[in-house]
């Protein structure tokens, strides 16, 4: 579980995060949603240690990040898997080398053991015939699968995904969403996903944290969204006509 307490972050005069307090639960897909500029990327980067918060604490299963020594932080980072928006695969490496990279860097496994683990993970994300291809030779959806495989290869406790669906067609996006959710439950990982894709919210939003102008404006599950009267989240979610219709239908069913 990741606990965030009273997190604040400013860039110059602009206060981006204004006292965020929330928890991201283990074994669940936790989604951070909000409009562009609401502070969700800054929150994610603060969780990852890329940004240092001005105030507040982030604790990973009781370990407060700001209190850790450099060595302890490095150790903690090996427990983190990250799927970047653009996949961030290493161009000079093949799919297999990309996936095996964290094992090569941080474990004492032999090349044969690394190969065995890489094959298992590649099979898990359903990548076929891509082991020896370079990232530039595979599709966007396959690149996302490689990124997920690389993120989970070292059995992370925490998985972070930044806009995992960006640039994907709706069908592939749902496949990737479901894959992340399955992996989260299977490996009992604390997964935090930064997204503004409402399909993802409705598909895998077990816990949703909604940010508006740097403030936590609402939190709950995908089921709670249909019942809530919180204007901020209703405005955001039902900005799409499709979701307005779904909400209407849902409410009629309940009546």
């Amino acid at each position: 579980m990741i606990e965030v307490k009273n997190l604040e972050k400013s860039f110059g005069d602009s206060k981006v995060l204004k006292g965020i307090t929330t928890t991201f639960e283990t074994g669940k897909t936790n989604l951070i949603i909000g409009q562009s500029g609401s502070g969700k990327t800054v929150l994610l980067k603060s969780l990852l240690g890329i940004h240092t918060p001005d105030k507040g604490t982030i604790s990973f299963d009781g370990r407060i990040y700001s209190d850790l020594t450099d060595d302890e932080r490095r150790e903690l980072r090996t427990e983190i898997g990250m799927v970047f928006q653009g996949s961030a695969l290493f161009d000079s490496m093949t799919v297999e080398e990309n996936v095996g990279f964290p094992l090569k860097m941080f474990t004492t496994k032999t090349p044969a053991e690394i190969k065995e683990r890489v094959d298992i993970v590649i099979e898990r994300v359903k990548l076929i015939d891509a082991n020896h291809k370079k990232p530039s030779e595979i599709s966007g959806g396959m690149q996302k699968r490689v990124a997920i495989a690389r993120a989970i290869v070292n059995n992370p406790k925490y998985l972070f995904c930044d806009e995992p669906n960006s640039g994907l067609d709706p069908k592939t996006a749902i496949v990737i969403d479901n894959l992340i959710q399955e992996i989260t439950q299977e490996y009992n990982i604390t997964t935090v996903i930064n997204t503004h894709d409402m399909n993802s919210v409705m598909e895998i939003g077990e816990k949703i944290v909604f940010l508006k102008q740097g403030i936590l404006a609402w939190e709950g599950s995908k089921k709670d969204i249909f019942k809530t009267d919180n204007e901020a989240i209703v405005d955001f979610v039902y900005s799409s006509n499709l979701f307005k219709k779904i909400r209407k239908a849902q409410n009629k069913e309940e009546i």
Binding site: L48, G49, I50, R73, R74, E75, R77, T78, I80, M82, F84, Q85, G86, A88, L89, F90, D91, S92, F101, P102, K104, M105, F106, F160
Partner: protein, 248 residues
Amino acid sequence: MLIRYLSQIGKYFLMLKEVFNKPTKWSVMKGLIFKEIDDLVIDSLGIVAFISFFVGGVVSIQTALNLTNPLIPKYLIGFATRQSVILEFAPTFISVIMAGKMGSFITSSIGTMRVTEQIDALEVMGVNSLNYLVFPKIIALLLYPFVIGIAMFLGILGGWMAGVYGGFTSSVEFIQGLQSEFIPFHIAYAFIKTIVFAMILATIPSFHGYYMKGGALEVGKASTVAFVWTSVVIILANYILTQLLLAK
């Protein structure tokens, strides 16, 4: 403006400190070093050989054409070619060319990794990205004096061929010039410069690539800026080292 430059210089030295911090596992680093040797050193040999051979030839021809006084001995062609090639052409001129060739390669490859979040990916995994990316380049460029040695040899060979086969001097006279008033310290001076230039070539383009912000267009701009600054620093270092090592 001045504060901005000073802050950049400070940032550069802080980067150098970080490059030697938290080393990457040797089994991984070994592969990276061999890859950089291939990309930076071996891949540069062709262009260095071509330029050195022909510029050596031009130096020889121009020296010959300027020796209009019959009292000046012809062996001066060999002497002038040797001095120009060993003291300036091979170490400095080739390094400025390499600032364009290697420098833009280093800046654009690291800059692209920055733009595509590959550097963030390394950092999030707990890898010291500066050590991972820059240290192998520094070690690979320890072989740079080998490239300059080849440039010296081919420059003089080009001078000899242009001088002898162009009918400007005889082989005996040219070789007499090469041996005349030879000061071994000049070779040491050239290689000391080369080591310093190698460090500049590895680190300044890396600095511009690593700290660049923006997209593809900015990668191109960073490569240009890196080339300009690498060349400027090489020329300044050349002046300072010459003053320190050769001036009496």
